[in-house]
Symmetry: C2
Subunit: 423 residues, 2 copies
């Protein structure tokens, strides 16, 4: 079949099958050839810097014509320095330990069967992501390092950049033991083209959507392929009656304002009623100093004239901006109930001197991460020492919290006998 005459669905099937075929060679590879392939990719990216920057300039120009915000354009833009950084990140992934082949459990059964559970690749991973071309390379090499083929579906805004980046990675793999087919760009730039991925059960083993809440929700609801939900963070800081007020202020300001655009930034703070007089006026002043608008319930508003009234939406939304919702609660349990009701089960923090309060908060908050006397901003693969991160799972199945290389694997049971049969 000529490429020109293929429909988008046929093109998708062709690349998905190529990825699946690549897994038969890639999955059993030990570490050395995978690391060599990653270094080949890093070298090829640096060598092709001019071509990458030119392709990226077309994306940037189109984004500018479309009136895209400067902050979005900044995430989209590549220059020689950024290409060098992407290549350096690839070499860092090569330096990480290979999760594949790890013996997770093992024993000799009473009948003499030798049993072991060994870490293996998932197979083909589909990544649906935002307009950041560095993710194209980051995600691809994390998948390759963990023995997986990858289907990349980036934002249409980065399509020129992604097309060139994927071609350079494929060409770099030609000279290695990793099949070039293991890295694939999903054809098409329309929202419809994402649907091919969602229906590819049997060809794709897992989908990881990143980016906006509405995209993630639609993937989760429509996909026949198993999904790992990532990234939406409506994180809370609860200031307990036994909190150290200065510590609470420091943590609240850091959690909200140190980098408000990320998923582990705080979006709501809750204060115990009995410490509200001591804490809230100072918190409102400190938040105002760093440019944060507070959306408070009636009790919070009684402490400050410039507090906006909070609606249900304010407690639900992930602002990702210099805004924060706030409420006074009468007990720790009321704080936990608020978090269970409005939170996104990403990261929630308590500030308290009380062991009993910390213990109860940790036990009853049902989130991927719970912080005690620390900023929510630490929920991060880099901070946790993973060396790399593909996203932060907010679901309970398979992986929860920051996902590094081991979270991109499954396991296989192997048992060896000498003619063992069931009696």
């Amino acid at each position: 079949m000529e490429r020109e005459t293929m429909t988008e669905a046929e093109e998708f099937l062709a690349v998905a099958r190529a990825a699946k075929d690549a897994t038969t060679v890639l999955a059993p590879l030990p570490r050395a050839p995978k690391d060599a392939a990653l270094h080949a990719i890093a070298d090829a990216l640096v060598a092709a810097t001019g071509e990458i920057v030119t392709a990226n300039a077309a994306d940037v120009e189109r984004a500018r014509r479309n009136g895209t915000s400067e902050s979005m354009i900044d995430r989209l833009r590549l220059d020689a320095g950024r290409v060098e950084k992407i290549a350096a990140a690839v070499r860092q992934v090569a330096d990480l330990p290979d999760p594949i082949g790890e013996v997770v459990r093992g024993s000799t059964l009473p009948n003499g069967l030798e049993l072991r559970q060994v870490r293996v690749p998932l197979g083909v991973i589909g990544i649906i992501y935002e307009g950041r071309p560095n993710v194209t390379v980051d995600a691809a090499v994390l998948c390759l390092k963990s023995g997986n083929a990858v289907l990349l579906r980036g934002s249409s805004s980065a399509h020129s950049s992604n097309t060139v980046l994927v071609r350079i990675m494929q060409e770099a793999l030609e000279g290695t033991e990793v099949p070039a087919g293991a890295v694939q760009l999903v054809p098409g730039v329309t929202r419809e083209s994402v649907k091919h991925l969602l229906r590819a059960r049997g060809l794709v083993d897992v989908l990881i959507p990143r980016g906006g809440a509405s995209l993630i929700k639609s993937v989760v609801e429509e996909s026949a392929v198993p999904v790992i939900e990532t990234g939406v963070g409506n994180c809370h800081v609860y200031v307990d009656v036994d909190a150290d007020v200065d510590m609470a202020l420091k943590i609240l300001i850091n959690a909200k304002a140190q980098r408000p655009s990320v998923c582990n930034a705080a979006e709501t703070f809750l204060v115990h009623a009995d410490i509200a007089d001591a804490f809230v006026p100072k918190a409102l002043a400190a938040l105002k100093d760093v440019g944060v608008t507070v959306h408070g319930d009636e009790r919070i508003r009684s402490y400050g004239a410039d507090v906006e009234p909070a609606t249900e939406d304010d407690f639900t939304v992930e602002y990702v901006s210099l805004d924060i919702a706030a409420a006074v609660v009468d007990s720790l349990d009321e704080a936990v109930a608020h978090i269970r009701r409005y939170g996104s089960a990403h990261t929630d923090a308590i500030v308290t001197r009380s062991q009993a309060a910390a213990r109860r908060f940790v036990a009853t908050v049902d989130s991927a991460a719970v912080a005690v006397n620390a900023s929510t901003r630490f929920t991060d693969g880099g901070e946790f020492g993973f060396g790399a991160e593909i996203g932060i799972s907010t679901q309970k199945l398979h992986a929860r919290g920051p996902m590094g290389l081991p979270e991109l694997t499954s396991t296989k049971w192997i048992y060896t006998g000498d003619g063992h049969v069931r009696l």
Copy 2:
């Protein structure tokens, strides 16, 4: 709202919310009160033997009127001895270690933050299962032991039994620290009533369908709730050129005929061409002796007049009967390609004296379990030493192979500092 005026959808929401509410009390419970609750259930079941057997008799009578097969009726039937066995199994689960609270990983980060990843319950688990009332109790207590609430959706054929069993378990929980709402029967007996479960995202954390392939497929395709796929087993025995023929015969007969109705029974055998003359005639005779019908490709049929011709369907189907498909292959890689194409990624076995062949088979067969010189029948939570099993996962996400108590859990990251903020 009066119960009589509720629609089935409203009734479903009421029980699902009751289960979710129960998790706030159940999830943080330590082992002792959970074990006490399991013993209370075991005692209550034995005490209510008469009532259980009477309710079950109504199911059996209805099944008989509907012309259900005797083997299905046998799986449905309860008598005093079987109730005692169910209660004994509950006490065994109480004796198993509690997976909750296990510290899976942990470290002190360079900045002094104390980080640990702790095993926690999944939350609310929905189980969709076949007409075996013992599963109602088995599944419920495995969920409770692992800190989860459970929504039980058994076969309509066991509805009278299941209704009584669930009521007895709920009543038994009334006197314990485990909330009675943690065990719920999904209202309704129609196929439509299953759909409420599939749509209950946010209320139900995971669905585990057991039973027939078509039910599992429809759950997987339609569910908005994450699913763990279980149980379909199209298992293979590959007899390598370097096989010990007597060992291969013993393993093949055991894998096929020791208990043909289970998912880890073999459904196809593959033979290397260079050992076919030595192996196939003996295999056909031995299979005939135990009443197995062979469905072979042309090369297999050249060894026996009573071999049925195999179609594509024969290589795809899970017979769950005294039938087996068979084919001759020209290489180990051709055997692996056959298994990848037709298999269900449950369990596949190789019989060989060759280390190299075993190593290549294990590395390239992409199944939940791979057996070397052993029957496929060992893929089982009991055989693996798990003490109990909720099913056998044939998917790669979250759990793969036999699922015991740890597979019914998630994890939570906890980090503790003394005012730590990101710099």
